[in-house]
Amino acid sequence: MPELDFEIITLGHGSGGKLTNDLLDKGVFNLFQNDYLQQRHDGAFLDIQGKIAFTTDSFVVNPIFFPGGNIGELAVNGTVNDLAMCGAVPKYISLGLIIEEGMRMDDLWEVLAGVKISAEGAGVQIVTGDTKVVERGKGDKIFINTTGLGVTHPSVDFAMDRIEPEDVVIVSGPLAAHGMAIMSVREGLTFDSDIISDTRPLHEITYSLLETFGKDIKLLRDPTRGGVATVLNEIAKFSKVGIELDENQFPVGRQVKAACEMLGLDPLYVANEGIFLTVVNKKIADSALSIIQDHRFGKEAAIIGEIQPENPGKVFIKSRIGGRRVVGMLAGEQLPRIC
């Protein structure tokens, strides 16, 4: 943490005056230093070749520190993963901070360190940003917005209507870790566990899939809020196909499973931050699975279902005991402010 003569954020830090400059010079610019920020312009000048993927996301997670990460890491990985799901290599992101008056400087510093570590881990540069401070009670410690730019892989051809019967659905890792990690520390719900958030960048895996299989990778999606069930329902609806899942094939961690049982939650609907779903041509399914499993973030990947011509728009699951039921969309929220 840099030497600063203030311990908490005050409204002055958002005024644009000296305090803002102190915070930016000694804190933000110093931490993220790169040529783009060095220009000290109102925006960044970027040279990009190829088809650009462009995305934005806002992060309001409560609490801002949780097992396995903090809001800063989430803000970078979330946007990096949105670019990854577009089949892009993430390049640049912006960082917009809305800080509540009274936030402790060491907390802010820890969040910014999370941003830096994740950005380095994902190979992206913070090239522009903004800092605002709102009165106490008008925010909740800190909200972060990140916007990202990436270069799309040339073979990306994602269209819902390319998904057809016999295609296979793969999930890249165990379900529900992020949601349950947040829940374990949420006021009024706390319970002891070793569950940690799965927040992590996924673009390396998605890029190798596209590099190896090209157009046979028909779709990439990260099942964040609403969980796996919600994304699969969207795919079934817009692709006008049915999806048949096998409950026995779902990877779910032992502690996550137990916590879900205890709180009466279905892991299919709990938020994730570090896994993706992909729909692939059946003939490459096994090789695609091994490529995902070869990566450190994809060890527990599994084939969980198949696209079918029957029941277009619907997702069915074969239950553990051999019964069959529809998997619906999440109605209402399981827990607000999860990311």
Binding site: G188, G264, D266, I321
Partner: protein, 363 residues
Amino acid sequence: MKYLEEFRNEKQVKKLLDDIHSMVTREWSIMEICGGQTHSLVKNGILNLLPDEITMVHGPGCPVCVTPIGMIDKAVELALEKDVIMCSFGDMVRVPGSEMSLLKSKALGADIRIVYSPLDALKVARDNPEREVVFFAVGFETTAPANALSVIQAERSGLRNYSILISHVLVPPAMEAILSDEETRIDGFLAAGHVCTIMGSEEYEPITQKFDVPIIITGFEPVDLLQGIKSCISQLEKGESGLDNQYKRVVKKEGNKEAQSIIFEVFEIGDREWRGIGMIPSSGYHVKEKYSTYDAIRKFDIVAKDGKENPQCMAGQILKGLKKPHECPLFGHKCSPTSPQGAPMVSSEGACAAYYHFGYEPA
């Protein structure tokens, strides 16, 4: 997980289903009392695996569903007009009252906190000594001990800013009301395992005798439910009507005596209104005079009257087993978990929500 995986064993399930299929010779209607059982039947796809002759009727055992609309209005009034911190189980905050749900009152500025236990509400009261804190105490016999305990603990620690808005109901009087209703035809019951964990099995003996109906105390996992159904069908086919306890690993004949003594230290039995069913004599708990200062109804001057229901909502007939959720004209059209018109659509354990969530189409 021990006590879970072995009750979700596919081979055992198949064996039980085979037994049930070979046993059944005519049509039977069995009511599972508890919403947790309804949810498990639907979630595991068991309803479609049973013989066509067996109709499962989904009983009134979802506390959120049977809490009268007037109680929700009272909770909203307390939260909005009396400026209390209203603590509630998560399911309850989405239930629509006559004017609004607790969730909507939160958007209008009310202080609503979702808790998993009344003891968490007690902590809120301790942490906010300058505010009044009310816990919305709904439930069957299962949640009564913890709710009663919160009052005892508040009293012992001299906590004066805590009270409970109580809407507690009891299973046996509801079963009697259903069996006495001339419209209903229930041949057998799966009694609610968790309720019996507290109260024991004894209080069901007189019902089997009076109404000549088999009652099987049953758990919640697929193997539990199928063992319960098998035991019930076996009795029905033989013309017997006895009490059987499938959930022996948890339920004792006398129940949990300590929990019972905590309940009756704080509560006494009295008449209660059930949403969709109406007033049932001696079917719920009320706070005893001794603890009246912890009863939110007596503590605050509440004006909310009995609430208005959507006249098209079939919740009552559904809770009595006369209609299936998807036979209601509102189901899937005007009524869904995002805009519930009646309580069984709100709680995840409600019969309508279970049917909606697991893909039943409007009839």
